[in-house]
Symmetry: C2
Subunit: 150 residues, 2 copies
DNA sequence: TCACCTAAGTTCAGTTTCTGGACGAACCAT
DNA sequence: ATGGTTCGTCCAGAAACTGAACTTAGGTGA
């Protein structure tokens, strides 16, 4: 299987991974959530080939995760902003951050802190059940085939 | 930058992505959470090169995400099981599933349903604040440098 | 006017990684 | 002894990634 074919699978993970499941794409999204918007800034921060930046940004725009909007004329320059669909990826990014904080942070602690404006506290994300609002762990869940299966 | 260098960055995303931020690794984890444990099963389900399966499983074992445990002698055969560290990736996987369900599910609905055993309902994951327990969205969070920064 | 700068790409040769398919090892069943 | 199972390894060709130079379109300072 080639990874372009992932998008055609009857699996939400495969379809998401076809869009965001790539090392550099995830790093671009991290930076996007940290407020990075310009081509040069992505390139400088990540230190990777401009070719890859171009290609990944193009895919994210095509998928509606980022929007390419002009921020000046003469010459026209664009910036890349997270769309609503892009902002919906926040739980994914935070879940990855949290796993990294738990398992790869050094003595000193987490490299970044996240403050919930509503309550004013530094927090970490907790995955809860949409129905009973209790925290959920892997062992408490049963998965079965749904209506959208092949 | 090469992606092996991601692990050395003072960023939890980079460090996590160095381990799991690869298309096939994420697909392997999906299958692992669905109960797949054997080399042949991963290979058949994913339909990708055995070389890649070997390499990815090796990395996940080296990182302590999967454990290689013998399930028979003569000949010795091993299976790959999620460790506690691996199970900690459940929020990551569920966040990705949920994003796919929201943005790529067809008319019919989600390909898979998840039932929370504790309350008996089909649910989707909600990211909440560890401190005030309210749902959190991207715009409600302020990020700043933490103690583990470079 | 001329030289230099910025932002956002494009192009390209060389290197690394991935793919598909064959092959190997160690055992079991008939 | 022939074939099957499970878990790999090996290899040539294809695809992706890298680093560096180049392009476009305009702006800046002297």
């Amino acid at each position: 299987m080639k990874w372009e074919d992932l998008a055609d699978q009857p699996c939400s993970i495969a379809r998401s991974v076809a869009v965001i499941g790539d090392r550099w794409t995830l790093m671009i999204l991290r930076d996007a959530f940290l407020g990075v918007r310009r081509f040069e800034a992505f390139q400088t921060r990540l230190g990777i080939s401009r070719t890859i930046i171009t290609e990944r940004l193009k895919l994210l725009v095509a998928e509606g995760v980022l929007a390419k909007v002009p921020y000046q004329d003469r010459p026209v320059r664009h910036e890349y902003r997270l769309t609503e669909k892009g902002l919906d990826l926040y739980p994914v990014v935070m879940a990855i951050v949290n796993w990294g904080d738990r398992h790869y942070a050094g003595e000193a602690g987490a490299p970044l802190l996240h403050r919930h404006k509503a309550c004013g506290c530094d927090f970490h994300p907790v995955m809860t059940c949409s129905e009973c609002h209790a925290p959920v762990s892997a062992r408490e869940v049963e998965t079965r085939v749904g209506p959208g299966a092949a």
